[in-house]
């Protein structure tokens, strides 16, 4: 089985990687960086013959273009091993209308007919191939959080709250950020940005001296397998099928 996950940015990529590795048992198998900007482009994980690529697109507005490139890659593939079985797109729930806007742009690029009801459900995507005529892939557009506006960071923070101290830390971080938001109108104009600011504030307090390495250590130490919040929100990443490697 071969799958690809398209996400907005590097933080999303790293979080997805953590979930796959520490919750679903995938193994890290390398990365690809943009040689000019040093931006992390994709990470590859493997599990018993299966392979998943996590591709960071540098912003939600770039995801439809990256999907069009992926569609072209599928169109010109001539080997079965070059084809993918499943495509997942992971986006923030930016605003009330953001899902419709995103789906419309996706349809424009891919010449498809997806709509908002196709978000957070398993669907099929048929696309052309020069040699095999038509191929069908499993397709899943995940919008987090599902019900309310926010960002993936909101879900991650909810998962990290394991005791009163952590809960207070998150709540106070949120209060601080909301205070900033309410007293000016230049920054933090979207709920997703507020969620990211709360996330970064929490980690700035948790790991004031070192950012990335310490956060990784903290994230690795959690009991990911039995975390109910992650079970609910990231169940769409449980894609490994023993019978269909």
């Amino acid at each position: 089985m071969k799958a690809v996950v398209f996400c907005e940015g590097t933080t999303d990529l790293l979080m997805i990687q953590f979930v796959l590795q520490y919750k679903y048992g995938w193994k890290y198998d390398g990365f690809v960086e943009n040689t000019v900007s040093n931006r992390l482009m994709k990470r590859i994980l493997v599990k018993d013959g299966a392979k998943i690529e996590i591709r960071s697109c540098g912003g939600i507005t770039n995801i439809p273009d990256e999907m069009r490139r992926f569609q072209e890659q599928m169109e010109y593939s001539t080997k079965k091993e070059e084809l993918f079985d499943k495509v997942i797109i992971l986006i923030d729930h930016d605003t009330v209308d953001s899902n419709k806007i995103f789906v419309d742009k996706l349809n424009e690029k891919l010449q498809t007919n997806f709509n908002e009801r196709d978000i957070n459900v398993d669907i099929k995507w048929k696309t052309d191939n020069l040699v095999f005529k038509e191929i069908e892939l499993d397709f899943y557009i995940s919008c987090l959080p599902e019900e309310e506006t926010g960002a993936i960071e909101s879900v991650m923070l909810e998962a990290l709250v394991t005791d009163d101290i952590e809960e207070n830390l998150v709540n106070n971080s949120e209060k601080f950020i909301l205070y900033i938001r309410e007293n000016q109108d230049r920054y933090l104009q979207r709920k997703s940005l507020i969620a990211k600011a709360v996330f970064n504030t929490y980690f700035a307090i948790r790991t004031p001296e070192e950012k990335c390495g310490e956060r990784s250590r903290v994230l690795r130490a959690y009991d990911w397998k039995n975390n109910e919040v992650l079970n609910k929100s990231f169940g769409f990443l449980d894609i490994y099928d023993n019978d269909n490697k």
């Binding site: 072209e72 890659q73 010109y76 593939s77 080997k79 070059e82 020069l130 040699v131 095999f132």
Partner: protein, 364 residues
């Protein structure tokens, strides 16, 4: 130029369409996808109703000293495989220099009885026919009748028995679709078979040829045709500053000989088609760029269309990237075995490079 080729039935190929062919066409694909078959069909366009030409085309696989195939076996192998009918066809068509063409060879297989005299005649044994006394034996033999049709018009027929060694063709008029086709096999350079006469009569191209030979031997001076005083035969001798006297061409390495063969074959194929089977054989990766650049740039000047097969990613990469100005004229054709038969992905060099470098797709 050949702009389109449709092979409906030939050997194991069943309905393969190649469109948008370019000045240079690189053909790749896994084993048994039909790469060499495509070259064979194109080669036949020079003499599609000439049994001798078909025999040479088909005999390529049986060049081993230990394996000898009869003309009957050779011709039989060209017709579609898995055919249980007594009547079968080779059919292909296309467009060359804006003219449509179709070629159809119909093969009828039958069994017949020959007596001693007939058998010996077919086998080519010379006797005083009519005076020799024969025993009255009968022999069951297989016969293949071939009928040629070019552009819907009959162009002769031939008979081949499975017991005959040589063959005689009854075709008087050759219906040529392409006037000049030159085929270069993967190992032809090792047999010291070159087309140096064409090279030695063009001063500009000869000068460029010398520059390329210097990539192999920096002390290379020239190649000359000399007559052996004793035997009166002609041989090629290479002059190099490294040696006190000229060396016979066959003393040089395969790489240099292959480059020499490719360059000279291009000249021989002027205003026609050049077929290079596994073109990268014996050429080291360090000189590929220069050799291929010369070939491709001069193909346009000499009005030569090239079809080349390859298994080598380095060679394909080199051909696609050696002439940035000509990438629109270079086609990358990848043959793929699918459930519906062999299919072709045909893209220009620019697209092929994107597929390879950006998407990581396999071109072979």
């Amino acid at each position: 130029m050949l702009s389109e080729l449709n092979i409906e039935k030939y050997r194991g190929i069943d309905s393969l369409k190649l469109e948008d062919l370019g000045r240079v066409n690189v053909i790749a694909g896994e084993n048994n996808t039909g790469k060499t078959s495509i070259l064979e069909v194109i080669e036949s366009l020079e003499r599609p109703n000439d049994l001798r030409a078909w025999r040479l085309i088909g005999r390529r696989e049986g060049n081993s000293m230990r394996i000898s195939t009869t003309s009957y076996d050779t011709m039989k192998s060209l017709f579609p495989i898995n055919n249980e009918n007594k009547k079968t066809s080779i059919v292909y068509s296309g467009e060359y220099n804006n003219k449509l063409f179709t070629v159809e060879l119909t093969g009828e297989f039958s069994d017949t009885i020959l007596n001693d005299e007939q058998l010996e005649k077919i086998r080519g044994y010379r006797h005083d026919y009519g005076t020799t006394e024969y025993e009255h034996n009968e022999y069951e033999v297989s016969l293949l009748d071939i009928y040629y049709k070019i552009n819907g018009e009959n162009f002769g027929s031939d008979k081949i028995y499975n017991v005959q060694r040589g063959f005689a063709t009854s075709t008087d008029i050759i219906a040529s679709i392409v006037e000049n086709v030159v085929y270069v096999s993967p190992t032809q350079h090792a047999n010291n078979s070159f087309y140096l006469n064409a090279l030695m009569t063009d001063p500009k191209l000869y000068e460029q040829f010398v520059e390329i030979m210097k990539e192999f031997d920096p002390d290379f001076v020239s190649i000359n045709s000399v007559e052996d005083e004793m035997t009166r035969s002609r041989k090629y001798v290479v002059l190099s500053k490294k040696f006190n006297e000229g060396l016979l061409l066959n003393a040089y390495g395969d790489g240099m000989k292959k480059a020499m063969l490719l360059l000279s074959a291009l000249l021989k194929a002027k205003d026609g088609i050049l077929l290079l089977d596994e073109f990268e054989t014996a050429i080291h990766v360090s000189v590929m760029g220069k050799v291929f650049k010369w070939i491709i740039e001069n193909a346009a000047k000499l009005n030569v269309q090239i079809f080349m097969t390859s298994h080598s990613l380095e060679a394909i990469n080199s051909v696609l990237k050696c002439c940035p100005d000509m990438q629109k004229d270079i086609r990358m054709i990848t043959l793929v075995n699918t459930e519906d038969g062999v299919k072709a992905r045909n893209v220009d060099a620019l697209k092929a490079i994107q597929l390879m470098d950006e998407y990581g797709l396999e071109l072979r």
